[in-house]
């Protein structure tokens, strides 16, 4: 992570020089959140640097007390050794360049420079402002653990470690970003995860050249999987430690980015996005039922509207049994325009709901449901059936567990509606084929996106369709290329 333009500055044995460099590089006198304190220990000057908001004050006070106690003793041993021994903390490290010292200080560690020494001591006293683990809003379950990942990467590794107490669980940390120096942790189980994938990810992570990762996980994701033009989410996110550790045990690799509670699970396929922890909290049969209903919802969210539209545009297509489908009265606007308006209206609502404060969202829901829906029909803008089908498709969108996938599917649905409006049956059929072919052609980290459907894998697809009871899932999914196939040793 060394800065290539500027050479690393070694620590000088004159305390004054070090202080000047610190002032110049970090602006210790200028930035008010950087703290500095100088005090003598055994007649040698020691200067201490820290970031006021990121350190735990009682610990620093304790350290200083212990160091100042040294003044009452009269020893002639090596001063550096003495100070090192008296820093009562389990994490004390020695650094030899100012650059390293700076990075550590800005991460929230406290740095001690000692006059006459070419080394500095850093002590990990950081405590980051953060929230306790809470149940993530996006992945709720009725029963089961309610802790969720937080913005703190150390806590996150701890939450994972709580569930996988395996010595072979590896958490490799690295710093990415010239300016932000964000911590990124690669978690995998050694001997299970595909070593080729781990190597590839490490290389990709090290090759990230960027000033900062403010959007944390999302920025990293865009560097790792080359998104191209597919709207589909190429990695799965989770905020649940149980989901994350289940994937670790299956042989997936996890990427944690500091400041984000969302873990990146790789490799991911389309079918990872339509599973949910809730299915695994129910009995296998109920779980399968939930899953089938969910598939139906997702299928409806993509294909229901265009299918209905094509039947409205050409009523001769309707089989006798379904002859009642389709508007009975003439409407002023073409049906596909009505669909587009209604769908875009729901999209307005969804976008607005994300950032509307809760007290206002009740009012918003009322306006949307009662006023717009009913009055649009009364005025003659919409026929009632449009509202019905758009609503079913919208609910199908909400039934998609992966938020990213639901939005991508919505986009495809709009395109399919447009294609159907233009070319009727041909538009729908060709559009549907292209939708599937686009998914088939997508690959993430050498993993086919639509696996196990295309390419077909009978066993794996069976496990996607039927939520198997855990004692019967004896093998890890082959798509992650696990080093060890068997789940039950």
């Amino acid at each position: 992570m060394a800065n290539k333009q500027e050479p690393q500055i070694p620590i000088s044995s004159y305390l004054k020089n070090n202080e000047q460099v610190m002032d110049k590089r970090a602006g210790v006198g200028t930035s008010f959140d950087l703290g500095y304190r100088k005090f003598p220990v055994l007649k040698t000057n020691v200067s201490m640097y820290y970031v006021t908001g990121l350190c735990e004050t009682p610990v620093i006070v304790e350290l200083m007390k212990e160091l100042l106690e040294l003044n009452h003793l009269d020893k002639d041993e090596d001063i550096f050794e003495q100070i090192h021994d008296h820093l009562v903390h389990q994490q004390v490290e020695i650094v030899e360049t100012i650059d390293d010292a700076l990075v550590e200080m800005l991460s929230g560690l406290v740095v001690f420079f000692i006059d006459g020494e070419r080394k500095a001591l850093v002590v990990d006293v950081r405590t980051y402002p953060g929230r306790p683990p809470q149940e993530p809003d996006t992945e709720k379950v009725v029963r089961g653990s309610r802790d969720g990942y937080t913005e703190n990467i150390i806590e996150n590794t701890a939450l994972t470690r709580r569930r996988v107490r395996d010595g072979r669980l590896r958490n490799e940390i690295m710093r990415v970003g010239e300016r932000s120096k964000t911590d990124i942790c690669l978690s995998y189980i050694d001997g299970v995860a595909d070593p080729g994938l781990v190597k590839l990810l490490k290389k990709e992570l090290e090759n990230i050249k960027i000033d900062g990762l403010s959007m944390a996980d999302k920025t990293v994701e865009e560097f790792l999987v080359h998104q191209g033009r597919t709207p589909f989410p190429l990695v799965r996110y989770t905020e649940r430690p149980d989901v994350a550790s289940a994937h670790l045990l299956e042989g997936h690799v996890l990427v944690m980015v500091d400041t984000s509670p969302s873990m990146i699970i790789m490799p991911t396929t389309y079918f990872h996005h339509i599973q949910h922890a809730e299915e695994f909290r129910q009995s296998p049969i109920t779980g399968s039922f939930i899953r089938w209903m969910r598939f139906l919802g997702i299928l409806a969210s993509v294909f229901l509207l265009p299918l209905w539209l094509v039947l409205v545009l050409d009523p001769s297509l309707l089989p006798e049994q379904l002859a009642f489908i389709g508007p009975s009265e003439e409407s002023s606007l073409p049906v596909f325009v009505q669909i587009l308006i209604a769908d875009i209206g729901i999209e307005f609502l969804r976008i607005a709901a994300i950032h509307t404060p809760t007290p206002l969202s009740t009012a918003m829901g009322l306006i949307a449901a009662v006023l717009i829906g009913q009055i649009a029909i009364d005025v003659g803008l919409f026929i009632p059936e449009v509202i019905l089908y758009v609503a079913i498709a919208a609910i199908g969108t909400f039934a998609t567990p992966s938020y990213e996938l639901s939005v991508a599917n919505k986009l495809c649905r709009l395109l399919l509606v447009l294609a159907t409006a233009m070319f009727q049956v041909k538009g729908l059929v060709i559009g549907g084929m292209l939708y599937i072919l686009l998914l088939v052609a997508t690959k993430t980290l050498n993993t086919p996106y639509l696996w196990p459907f295309i390419p077909f894998n009978a066993k794996a697809l069976f496990q996607v369709l039927i939520r198997m009871s855990i004692p019967f899932t004896k093998y890890r999914p082959s798509v992650v290329h696990p080093q060890n196939n068997k789940r039950q040793p």
Binding site: L428, M433, V440, P448, F456
Partner: protein, 163 residues
């Protein structure tokens, strides 16, 4: 560790790749001809699997019911086991989905042009409606991709991991 891994791989013999290919063909037949029957139900297409394999040979009362459709789907599934085997023997070494697409188009041409005289219940090439052409064409492309991509992926995956 690596020794044990090797032993596990050996448990999966080459013949399982063949049987996987045949299974793929069967499922592909059921799935895509099932969707074909669905498109026939909604009159996207004038022909359904049953038009080929049931109504071309028998014309009874029951041949226009759903039983005929199910039997038609089953017939396609059985024949698909052969097409999958052909793909496995001839083209398994090719990569990706494009060979599958071409394979699907070839089958489509074969059925609608070359074999058309056999199937009495299927209109001749020039008399098919454009919707029928497009629908059956798309279904065959997906059918071909399903068989082709699955078989070549399984083949390459097996050979890679066996090393």
């Amino acid at each position: 560790m690596s020794k044990r891994k090797h032993d596990q791989r050996k448990q999966e013999p080459q013949k399982s790749v063949v049987s996987k290919a045949v299974t793929t063909g069967f499922v592909s037949g059921v799935l895509w001809s099932g969707i074909g029957a669905f498109t026939y139900f909604f009159h996207f297409s004038e022909v359904s699997p049953a038009s080929f394999f049931i109504r071309s040979f028998w014309q009874n009362e029951w041949t226009s019911t759903w039983i005929a459709e199910v039997l038609g789907v089953l017939a396609v599934a059985l024949i698909s086991m052969v097409t999958a085997l052909v793909y496995y023997l001839a083209l398994k070494k090719l990569h990706g989905m494009w060979p599958g697409i071409v394979y699907g188009i070839l089958i489509w041409l074969l059925i609608f042009l070359a074999f058309n005289p056999i199937f009495n219940a299927v209109p001749a090439w020039g008399e098919l409606s454009s919707d029928t052409m497009v629908t059956t064409f798309c279904l065959h492309v997906l059918y071909g991709v399903f068989i082709g991509y699955s078989i070549s992926y399984e083949y390459h995956d097996f050979n890679q991991s066996a090393k």
